[in-house]
């Protein structure tokens, strides 16, 4: 008889969803990839527990969940700095921690940043939908019944989760039992996407319809300080600031949008499209955020502020290469810590 291996959700937190790398290849049917809002922290969390293939993890937001582990597991939390305890003992972030059976993990508030990833060795084993475990909230599928976690939910882990935890922890370099008794290591992953001093600087290219805005709006977009409003979510970040006006009346045909598109609806306040955005939009696009800066934007809290810095397509490519190199270097180090 195989026992079920699972996480019991005692409190769901503010906005906790299951996410893997995302659901690609279906945008022509209106299905957007979803996936982690901060894919960099997501990859690091997985690497910390020895997962290599974008295994499903828990994305936790602003106020984290309380979880009971039915079985032993190897976990890591990476991304925003949450206040986390395991059976009342401070749990270190950005490093693997061996969690005993029946342990009680309590994540509090995010202190810096807003989103973190709780990865478990082997991954979360909810049923894939259209080849992905990512939760797609707007259409209600993927993850756990396509919705936010609730109190009483049971999240399945892979059946060999405890065995994986033991063997991976055993193979790790520089293990250390912390002064509070938790079994972890002396090394950690770097935080690559935490927001620095606000307003944070987000690089963006002029969008397809930039020239259709009036001169004041074109200037204001790159000069104003924008505030992320509380009604922002995984679909889009709504930004408060000066209203951006078009130079004249305009009705554009709906056309494809993508992650990081900044569109401006009739009220003049921009919306930056995030992981769960619609695939097609009919609002003019004033800008497109550089892909390398989307994870940092995703870490802003509601009320957080940003400024857009104009960049060119080659500059966006350079930012991407730099981020990719930093991530690749961190992932190489983590792999090496697993004795490979």
């Amino acid at each position: 008889m195989s026992r079920t291996r699972s996480l019991h959700i005692l409190r769901p937190g503010l906005l906790s969803t299951v996410q893997d790398r995302g659901r690609y290849g279906l945008q022509h049917l209106g299905v957007v990839p979803c996936g982690p809002m901060d894919p960099v922290a997501f990859e690091l969390a997985n690497a910390l527990v020895g997962n290599r293939n974008g295994e499903a993890a828990l994305e936790i937001t602003v106020l984290g969940p309380e979880i009971e582990f039915e079985c032993a597991a190897l976990v890591a939390i990476c991304g925003a700095q949450f206040d986390v305890t395991l059976d009342g003992r401070a749990l270190p972030l950005n490093r693997p921690v061996f969690v005993e059976e029946k342990s009680h993990l309590k994540t509090g508030r995010a202190l810096v940043g807003s989103r973190a990833y709780l990865a478990v060795a082997g991954g979360i084993a909810t049923a894939p939908v259209l080849a992905s475990r990512s939760t797609y909230l707007p259409a209600g599928f993927g993850g756990l019944e396509g919705r936010l976690l609730r109190t009483g939910d049971v999240l399945p882990l892979v059946p060999n989760s405890p065995a994986l935890a033991r063997s991976r922890y055993a193979s790790m370099a520089s293990k250390k039992t912390l002064s509070n008794g938790l079994r972890s290591v002396t090394w950690s992953a770097p935080a690559l996407t935490l927001p620095e001093r606000e307003p944070i600087v987000i690089h963006a290219m002029e969008g397809r319809h930039h020239a259709l805005f009036d001169a004041a709006a074109q200037r204001a977009f790159f000069e104003a300080t924008w505030k992320v409003t509380p009604d922002s979510n995984r679909m889009g970040f709504r930004l408060a600031g000066p209203a951006l006006a078009l130079a004249g009346a305009l009705e554009i045909l709906s056309e494809p949008t993508c992650l990081g598109t900044v569109q401006v609806p009739a009220n003049g306040l921009p919306i930056a499209l995030m992981a769960d955005h619609q695939t097609i939009g009919g609002y003019p696009k004033i800008a497109e955020i550089a892909a390398a800066d989307v994870p940092r934007l995703a870490q802003l809290m509601p009320g957080g502020t940003l400024q857009f810095a104009r960049c060119t397509l080659p500059q966006a490519g350079e930012l991407r290469r730099v981020l990719r190199q930093r991530l690749a270097a961190a992932l190489r180090t983590l792999t090496w810590m697993y004795g490979e």
């Binding site: 022509h28 049917l29 209106g30 259209l130 290219m205 397809r208 990081g260 497109e288 990719r324």
Partner: protein, 233 residues
């Protein structure tokens, strides 16, 4: 066909615009182009999205094989595929969509009737009569933008969008028909409702509509609507 304008959508996608106005013939060749592009299985290309008068190519910005000059690479790919795409035929599929145009479902029928000065009965007749095509699928999973609406029925969007469209709402605006798969906000004029499930991830294929499909609307009664609706779970 020539590329009118190739514009980056940031550094993760490119939008190739072949025209600025809705053109059914152009749209049909875009569907064929999308099929040809997908058949290439370019490793760094994640999504190919044919739209009303252009096509978006979404790529993996971290793929090791992503060319440095990605715009040029996309242009070359588009030109090249267009040659083979011209040999493609339509999907040949016709999706029959039962619609109940009763008053309780056709929420904006009287409004459309006033704005077009066409009687409700005649609106329904005209909606049923013409040949329709799926021009694009998007916004929410499975939501079709369907062309071929009788030009006399072309009305703008409602001044105030509804915050929740009924599931299965059949709505018209700007010379097109849309069918709403989910209770999303929507500004189009609702003329009826279909009992069909527009998108179901557990079904193969999940989407009732695909770009390039022909669509035929069929009028049903309220009783037939109830009979065809899936039992509530």
């Amino acid at each position: 066909m020539k590329t009118l304008r190739l514009s980056p959508l940031g550094d993760t996608a490119v939008y190739a615009e072949f025209g600025a106005t809705l053109d059914l013939e152009l749209n049909r060749s875009l569907q064929a182009l999308a099929v040809a592009l997908r058949a290439r299985a370019v490793p760094w290309l994640r999504d190919v999205v044919p739209a009303l008068c252009g096509i978006a190519l979404h790529f993996d910005p971290c793929h090791p094989q992503l060319p440095d000059a990605v715009l040029e690479a996309c242009e070359e790919l588009l030109q090249d595929c267009f040659k083979s795409a011209s040999k493609f035929e339509d999907s040949g599929r016709t999706v029959e969509v039962p619609v109940c145009y009763d008053e309780e479902f056709g929420l904006d029928l009287s409004d459309v009737s006033q704005r077009t000065s066409i009687a409700i009965k005649e609106i329904i007749k005209r909606h049923l009569k013409t040949q329709h095509w799926v021009l694009m699928v998007g916004f929410s999973p499975g939501q079709p933008y369907i062309g071929g609406l009788d030009p006399k029925l072309s009305v703008p969007r409602r001044a105030t969008p509804r915050t929740r469209m009924p599931i299965g709402a059949v709505a018209i605006a700007n010379a097109q028909t849309a069918v709403y798969p989910y209770e999303t906000p929507g500004g189009w004029n609702v003329i009826g409702r279909t009992p069909l499930t527009v998108f179901d991830p557990a079904r193969d294929p999940p989407s009732l509509f695909a770009p390039g499909d022909c669509v035929r609307f069929v009028a049903i009664t309220g009783e037939e609507f109830v009979k065809l609706s899936r039992p509530p779970h």
